[in-house]
Every structure is written in C-alpha cells, then in structure tokens.
Symmetry: C2
C-alpha cells in the first residue's frame, strides 16, 4: 500500500520539523523524508537519528515532486524560503509551516509564492519550546497536542484536508482559525504572558538589591517567570511579527493594571476582591486541553 | 530533660500554625501545645490529628505562662488578637506571628501591646499557600524553607534568638530583615506577581471570546497564571496591608511595560532583545533557595 505522503520535504530539522518526520514515519504515513537546513551537522545528526532519509542538496529538484513541504524554520527565514521554492513548486505539491505567528507568514507567502499561494496552507503546532534541536525530536511530540491551521480563502478544501490529515497522523488535534484570529488569540494567551514575564525579571534585574530580592523569591515567582527563560531571539521575532495584536493586548493590560492601581490607591477592598475572585474562578475552572 | 519550649499557644490552627506545632513536637522542642481558633470543628480536628494537646478556652490563663505565642491567623485579625492578649501576657512570654506582611502587623502590635511590644518578634515563614487548613499540616512543611524574622529595635537579642531557635527546630533557615525591608522585598517578588497574574486572567475573563482564548492557552499560560487561583480574600488583605510598597512596585512595572511598548511601536529589535536577554540570563541562573 502507498503511504499517504510519498515524499515530504522539511526545511529546518529542529524539534518541530524532526518530530513531524518521526511521527509521520511511525504512523506509516510517509514514504521518504528529505531535509534541508543551515547546519550540516544538524542535518547529519537528523539522518543518523532516522529523522531523514536523505539530506537534500537541490531545492528545485526536491520540491518539484514532493507531496508536502514543511517550513519549520524560524519565521524570520520564511520569506526567503518562499522565494527559493516558488519557481520550482510542482502543481501537486502542498506547503505548510510551523510558525508561531500567521499574518506575517501569510504576507510573505502572498508576496513570494504569488500565483501559487493557494498551495500554501498556514499552520501552527502548539508544542515544544522548552527543548529544541533535532536531537530533542520525538515521534510522540504532537500526540494529543493542538495544531491550528489558518487556511487562506484561496486554499481548496481538499488541500486543507490533506494537511490536516498529516497532522492527525502525528496524533494532533487540529483546529482552524483565520490567520487574524490566530494572531489575536496567541497575542493574548501566549505572546503577552511571555512579554509580562520577561518584563518582571528585567525590572528586578536592574536593581542594586537584585540578589537580596531574588534570594527571597519562591514558588509563585518561579512559575510566573518560567517563560522568562525562553529564547530572547525567538521572542524578539515573535513580538515583532505579531506587533499589532501584541500592542493592542499590551495596552489593554496596562489599562487593567491602571484600574488595579486605582482600586489600591482608593483602598477599595471590594473592587480588589471582585477582580481577584473573577480571575480565580476562571483560572481554577480552566484545564489545559 | 525539659523541652526548649514548655508551653506554646497558637492562635489560628491552619496550615502554618498546625505545621509549626507538629514540627516542634517532632523535634522534641515543645512540652504542651494549646490552640485557639474561630472554628470549633477545626480545633477538634487539630486535637484529633495530634497537633494540639488542648483546645484553649481562657486566653488570659493560657498566655500568662506560655513560653511562646504564635499568631497564625490572617493578618486582618491580628490587631484584635494583640488587644485580647496584651493585658494578660506574662513577662517571660514571647509573641511571634506568621503574617505575610510586617509593617501593618508591627503597627498593630505597637498600638495594642504598647509597653509590652518588646516581647513581640515579627516573623514570616515562606511556606504553604497552595493548601490550607489544619488537615494539610505537616511536620516537615518548614524543612529547608525560609523564615524571615523582622525584629523591632525594642527586641532584646536573646528574645530574637529564642524565636529563631523555635523556627530552626522546625528545620527552617532563618533570615533577618527590618519590617520595611521585608515588605519591600515581598512586594517585588511575591505580591506584585500575584497581582499581575490575577490581572491577566481578569483581563481575558471579561471578553466575549474568553472560551476560545482559553481553549488555546498552553503551558506558558498555565504556569504564569497558577497563582491567579490563590485566595481572593487573602490577596485582597495582603494587597491592602502592603499597599504603599505594592503601589511603588506596580508603578515601576507599568513604567517597564511602557518602555517595552515603545520599543515594540518603534520596531526596535535590538532593545527588545536586550530586555529579553537580561531577563533570560537572570532567570535562568536563579535557583530557588
């Protein structure tokens, strides 16, 4: 029996791309996996680990007859990648990506893929981040995890269904949002919290008594600031890529803090309790899905 | 051999007070533990669990000859407790507390203990919070945990040493700060993060699309908002009790967010990376002590 995807080409064989390959392979859903990347040593390691069948050396030849191309590089590199693959993309080849922001990737795809943009189905697997690199790849990384597809109006339904099929073969639970909805949602529940956590640690880090302060920080601080140990380069790029939505969230949060500030300045116990109570109710009934 | 503390009286037999009793008992450092509290069923349970030897019913008689009195109630009740015990406090009896804020407790002690204030050594064990109640009490709750003593200029060194001895018998690591230092430190590393976490969840909770947003929240959000499930009443009281220090921290944090907002609006990649990098460096080298 033919596998669902005869040939998959992956650009960027780190945690996201490597785990996608391993998961498809484990599901028996892929014939051949070909990888491209900036670092020869990563590619060699990925081949050694059984992530790749082959290390690609001719983009034109590889993307011409691929069933599926996954861009799993940092978002900042995708514009250039779209330009490189655009002239050679076969008419039956679908492209998807694993970027954390979608409107900027869609803009790059529209600009560089131009007439072939209908072949690009934007995606975002909600997984990983704590570890990275090919060596961290796991066949079950996506098991039970969410993947958001953010289809374009130009995408044929059958193409969206085929990319969905790939992620479902990896064990993921696939949802669909528009690119704008996606970026709004993740600005609120992911990008803003990262910014706030970085900001708190930065605020303390600049003080003369920072060692004293940090010596008394406990488990509340530990959890609140866990994400402040994330990659500065990655979060710089995500922040800028999703700038408009993030600026809206940041302003709304500053407004929220101003009303807390006012309640505190007014000794308004009832108002403080009301804010804390609603937060507690919502947080304690929320369960990660 | 006589135990170090012949008789200890505890007001408020919840997690903090109950664990203090169990730990002293386990260390063989206490002869008799007498408890007072608002809820008869909690007191009965504490007796049944071996936390208390006796449930007190005459404050005057019990505090007259106690070696040590621990106030382990919510901070808001301490003013009244100081007034209740003041007339009866024996000259050899020391008093300490377990409140999360110190300047307000010190003010209450000065006002109500008056001439006996030198017998009060303010304290703050940094432990607990996730669970509460007598039933959650553990003999090893304080093992390796920090306890801050915030002595008054009036306290004889020998009295401070004796309260330190009690907490060290519980396995705690004892530090000293002035009450003002204490409240400044905890405003920065504990009270502010709680406020920020409540504020984020409250911000999202008020939106029409809150269910959609929360359905895509993942592990970063989970950890950042864990403390937003804390007790609203307790954090209302802490916020108001440490209002001045907390208002200073909140303003400084809003300033920090304003400069992030500016960097983002300016597309200032270098500035964003600088802020994130310093935060990451400090957070990833920090270890909870």
């Amino acid at each position: 029996m033919q596998p669902t995807f005869r040939k998959v080409v992956i650009f960027g064989v780190g945690l996201i791309g490597g785990s996608f390959a391993l998961a498809l392979r484990k599901a028996g859903a892929v014939g051949e996996v070909v990888g491209f990347g900036r670092s020869q040593s990563t590619l060699d390691e990925a081949k050694r680990l059984g992530i790749l069948d082959r290390i690609g050396n001719d983009v034109a030849a590889e993307v011409r007859d691929a069933d599926l191309v996954l861009l799993a590089t940092p978002v900042a590199q995708m514009d250039e990648l779209f330009a490189r693959i655009a002239p050679h993309l076969g008419s039956q080849t679908l492209v998807t990506d694993g970027g954390s922001t979608k409107c900027d990737v869609v803009a790059a795809a529209r600009s560089k893929l131009a007439g072939k943009v209908a072949q690009f189905i934007p995606g975002h697997p909600i997984a990983g981040a704590e570890k990275s690199g090919a060596a961290a790849s796991m066949a079950d990384l996506y098991q039970g995890k969410k993947v958001v597809l953010a289809p374009l109006p130009e995408n044929p339904q059958a193409s969206v269904a085929r990319v969905r099929q790939a992620w479902e073969a990896c064990g993921a639970v696939v949802s669909e949002l528009t690119p704008e909805e996606h970026d709004g949602v993740f600005a609120a529940v992911s990008h803003l919290p990262h910014l706030l956590s970085f900001a708190l640690v930065h605020d303390l880090a600049q003080r003369d008594n920072k060692d004293l302060l940090l010596s008394f920080a406990a488990s509340g601080f530990r959890d609140f600031t866990r994400i402040a140990a994330s990659s500065p380069e990655m979060w710089r790029d995500i922040s800028l890529a999703n700038r408009d939505a993030l600026l809206r969230e940041l302003q709304q949060y500053i407004n929220e803090l101003s009303s807390l500030q006012q309640a505190l300045a007014d000794n308004d116990a009832a108002k403080l309790e009301e804010i804390f109570s609603l937060a507690r109710e919502v947080r304690s009934t929320w369960t990660q899905q």
